[in-house]
């Protein structure tokens, strides 16, 4: 009987099986990686803004405190975005005619609000509250990174639920003295674990219920 297949068919057969397996695993790997990639989470991606606002300049350069613009960060779930007025308190004096600030001036003049692009965008079913985090000694930088080094603002964290849980499971690893909360340059000490324990006492942080669903979802 004539051979139905060529000699190399065996090699091909094995190759297809091996290859198929590898391709499948590869595909899984790609999906897995893509889901965690910065592309996907828009991490470290600085979206275009109506005004090229530089935290670096305002915070590091001019030493303006976070709360000067984000007024409600200690009072409310929402940190607050500065109304145009706030910008103009200074910019009616400095950079009066700067073309980059035209949108700001227009905004005030025509009462048209500025439309910034969100950098940190949590899903709508997540109820994050800035005030409580600040109050318990979680620094701005813990989530927002060194904004004082950002010419344009970008996301420094993936904002995955797992990432939230990391901190909610062991807050002691992320707590800092209350007076350091707004210090972007604060570096956690070597013995953060021990320090964290004492800070837990001081800041009245309760582990109980930190990982309850209803803590963030309603």
């Amino acid at each position: 009987m004539p051979q139905l297949f060529k000699r190399r068919a065996n090699a091909i057969a094995n190759a297809t099986i091996m290859g198929g397996g590898l391709i499948f695993l590869g595909a899984c790997g790609v999906v897995f990686a893509l889901g965690r990639s910065d592309y996907w989470t828009r991490k470290e991606e600085a979206p275009a803004q109506p005004v090229p606002f530089s935290h670096e300049h305002h915070v590091a350069g001019l030493g303006i405190d976070c709360r000067y613009c984000h007024t409600s960060v200690e009072k409310s779930s929402f940190a607050g975005m500065p109304p145009t007025e706030t910008c103009m308190t200074c910019h009616s004096q400095v950079w009066k005619g700067a073309p980059v600030l035209q949108p700001v001036r227009d905004s005030l003049q025509y009462g048209r609000p500025l439309r910034w692009t969100r950098v940190y965008d949590l899903p709508d079913y997540v109820y994050f509250d800035h005030s409580i985090h600040v109050d318990k000694g979680i620094g701005c930088a813990s989530c927002h990174g060194r904004v004082d080094q950002m010419p344009m603002t970008w996301e420094t964290q993936p904002l995955y639920m797992r990432w939230c849980l990391d901190c909610h499971r062991q807050p002691e690893m992320h707590l800092r003295p209350l007076d350091e909360v707004f210090n972007l340059a604060y570096a956690s000490p070597q013995n953060q674990f021990l320090v964290g324990r004492t800070l837990e006492e001081q800041n009245h942080v309760h582990h109980e219920g930190l990982t309850d669903c209803y803590t963030c979802h309603r």
């Binding site: 009987m1 139905l4 297949f5 000699r7 068919a9």
Partner: protein, 176 residues
């Protein structure tokens, strides 16, 4: 004797003849041989000196792995990774973990059985010298074949006559 010879192949009508032939060949000192039949012939494997298969061992390993993986996964996720109070039940609700453990045990064992078998049989092997033998397509239908391979030290021109002596229907040369 041609160099590119895989072996000589005797073709038989009945499985009993195949068995006898195989036994004879084995007594004659042939080792590198194989028997081919359209359905499993009792004792054929033993006749050509193939005593025991390791398939059961593979299956056992597969089963144990499955059980381990299943229970481990459940214990880790429910007790360790994200402990949740589900209707006041304990975190380690072992009775609820049994069904999945069982299922995965069976699954892993079964997969091990099939792929173990194929692997040890060296399948898939779409090309094989024996297919060169004329009339070998009957091996999957009605006929029985005994093939003595050229790699056997005893192999030689006489092997052909030896096979012919086992009164087969025919003896074929199988070139590799």
């Amino acid at each position: 004797m041609k160099p590119d010879l895989y072996g000589f192949m005797a073709e038989f009508e009945q499985p009993e003849e195949l068995l006898n032939a195989a036994r004879a060949a084995h007594e004659a000192g042939y080792r590198k041989m194989d028997a081919y039949s359209p359905f499993p012939v009792e004792g054929a494997a033993e006749a050509i000196g193939f005593e025991r298969t390791r398939v059961p061992l593979v299956v056992l390993i597969g089963g144990i792995t499955g059980a381990g993986v299943a229970y481990g996964m459940q214990y880790y996720s429910a007790v360790w990774d994200y402990p949740l109070n589900i209707g006041g039940r304990p975190l380690h609700s072992w009775p609820s973990f049994i069904p999945i453990t069982f299922e995965l045990t069976v699954l892993f064992a079964a997969v091990a059985a099939v792929f173990g078998m194929l692997l040890m049989n060296g399948l898939p092997k779409p090309y094989h010298p024996v297919f060169n033998a004329p009339a070998f397509k009957l091996a999957s239908q009605t006929r029985f074949f005994l093939c003595l391979q050229a790699t056997d030290p005893q192999f030689g021109e006489r092997t052909k006559y030896f096979l012919a002596g086992l009164n087969p229907i025919a003896v074929h040369e199988v070139e590799s």
